[in-house]
Structures are given as structure tokens and as C-alpha cells.
């Protein structure tokens, strides 16, 4: 019985955070609620005995992706200062209907599937040792490709976000343009 209540409370909190993340007006509040939703999902992972996955979720999502989103929000805030920008597009209702249809389309087949009658194992564990062994024995190719992908993403993100800065620094470091800078350098 205690296990049940923990899941339902966690699920309720996570769903509220997710709805808040998608519905609030202030961008920073949205991003913080999204971080809360990620943390809630990590706790559900821990509840389901997937220890490594849950802790990796906190480390990566709450510790890195949420901060990344917050930095992006702060770097692109120029237009919020202007007049009232409508939050949602004009056809928001059809978006919500589409998502309701997706929900029905996923849940109805699962509710009628025979797999639900299968009784789950009483205990399951994902010991880190076995995970490590499966990473380097069975899944070594995806692991190496993941390393390549992360390197490419790192370099790509730096290059994309950096492009304008080269022209800016060039114009600042030329002291011939500004008269006050000219006499300061002498």
C-alpha cells in the first residue's frame, strides 16, 4: 500500500508540473516547472527500481538540460519587453484535440491488450556492474556511436552559437575607429 500512494502522488505532481511548463506565461517559470517535471520523472524511475537511469536523469536533465534551457531563455528575451504577445497560436484548440486523439489512440489498444494480464516479477534490479558489462559486450557499437554523436553535438553547438561573435570581436579590437581609444592606446 505505501508503494502505491508514493507513485500516485509523484504522478500527480509531475503532471501538474508538466501542464504548468506548457501553459504558463512567464518563460522562466515554464523552464523551472519543466525541471520539476524532469525531477518527478526521475523519481518514478527510482520507484521502478531503475536506479542508474533515475540518477542519470537527474544528473543530465535537471543538472544540465534545464540550465541550458534557462540560459537560452535569458539570451533571447529581447521581445518580451514589447507589447502583449499571444501565448498560443490561433488554432490551439485543434492542437489540444490532436493530442487527445493521440492519447486515445495509444491507451485504447494497450487497455485491450493481453499483455496486461502478465504478472510482473516481484523484484527487479539493474546492478551497475551488469549494465556496464552489457554496454561493453552487447551494446559496444551504440556506445561508440554515442561517443561520436556527443562529440559532434558539442562541436556543432559551439560552432553554431559562436558564429556572430567573430565579427563582433573583430570590430571591438580595432582601436583605429574610436578617437578616445586611439589616444588611450598610445
Amino acid at each position: 500500500m505505501p508503494n502505491n500512494i508514493a507513485f500516485y502522488i509523484l504522478a500527480a505532481l509531475t503532471l501538474c508540473s508538466a501542464i504548468a511548463a506548457m501553459a504558463l506565461r512567464n518563460m522562466v517559470h515554464c523552464a523551472l516547472c519543466a525541471a520539476g517535471a524532469f525531477a518527478g520523472i526521475a523519481l518514478v524511475f527510482l520507484h521502478l527500481d531503475a536506479e542508474f537511469a533515475g540518477l542519470a536523469q537527474i544528473l543530465v536533465y535537471v543538472g544540465a538540460v534545464a540550465i541550458l534551457v534557462l540560459f537560452a531563455v535569458l539570451l533571447t528575451r529581447g521581445e518580451e519587453i514589447k507589447a502583449n504577445i499571444r501565448r498560443a497560436s490561433r488554432s490551439w484548440f485543434s492542437g489540444v484535440c490532436a493530442s487527445a486523439l493521440v492519447f486515445a489512440g495509444i491507451i485504447v489498444p494497450i487497455a485491450y491488450s493481453p499483455g496486461l494480464k502478465h504478472t510482473p516479477a516481484a523484484t527487479a534490479s539493474a546492478p551497475v556492474q551488469k549494465l556496464g558489462e552489457s554496454f561493453v559486450n552487447e551494446y559496444v557499437l551504440p556506445l561508440e556511436v554515442l561517443g561520436l554523436l556527443l562529440t559532434a553535438a558539442l562541436l556543432g553547438a559551439v560552432v553554431i552559437a559562436m558564429q556572430d561573435k567573430k565579427e563582433e570581436t573583430k570590430s571591438i579590437s580595432q582601436p583605429e575607429n574610436h578617437p578616445v581609444q586611439k589616444e588611450a592606446v598610445q
Binding site: N3, L15, G78, H118, L131
Partner: protein
Amino acid sequence: MSAPLLHYVIFSTLLFCIGFAGAVTRRNAILVLIGIELMLNAANLNFIIFWRYGVAPEVLTGVVATIFSIAIAAAEAAVGLALVIAIYKHRKTMQVEKFDTLKG
């Protein structure tokens, strides 16, 4: 762990649909990206649910897939946000409806 499987699946599907609704409805590009991240998280949650409630939880495929998915989602979020920032510098607006230079 004693909640029935259907409740867990309803939870993850609700998360997916909330993320989906936000991604197609909101106008700010960053919120679209947050919606996509929520959808990815819901899919990861599905992996773990079916690993736990599945036939053979001693085979760790579900957990391995989740860890790969978390890593790839982080890389994709980084690149996506870098792209959004680069577009903002160009178009000076964050609304996805205005990113229409390729139209027509």
C-alpha cells in the same frame, strides 16, 4: 510497484500528450523544444515501465535503451537550443510563425 501496469502507461501517455500539445500549440521556439523534451522523457518512462513489468527484467535492454535515449536527448537539446539562439540573432524574434523565410 504495486500499481497496475495500465496506470503507469496512462501516466506516461499523459506526459507525452501534454508535451505534444505544448509543442504544437505554443508560439515560442524554446517552449516547443521543452515540449519535445517532455515527449522524449515520456518515451523513456515507457521503456522503464515495460522493462520492469515485462517478461524478463534480468535482461537489461530497457535500462540500456533509456540511458542511450537520455544521452541523445541531451545532445539534441544542446544543438536545438544553439540553433534557436542563432535564429534569434538573425530574425530578432522567437515566434515560430515568423520563421518563414523559406516559404513560397
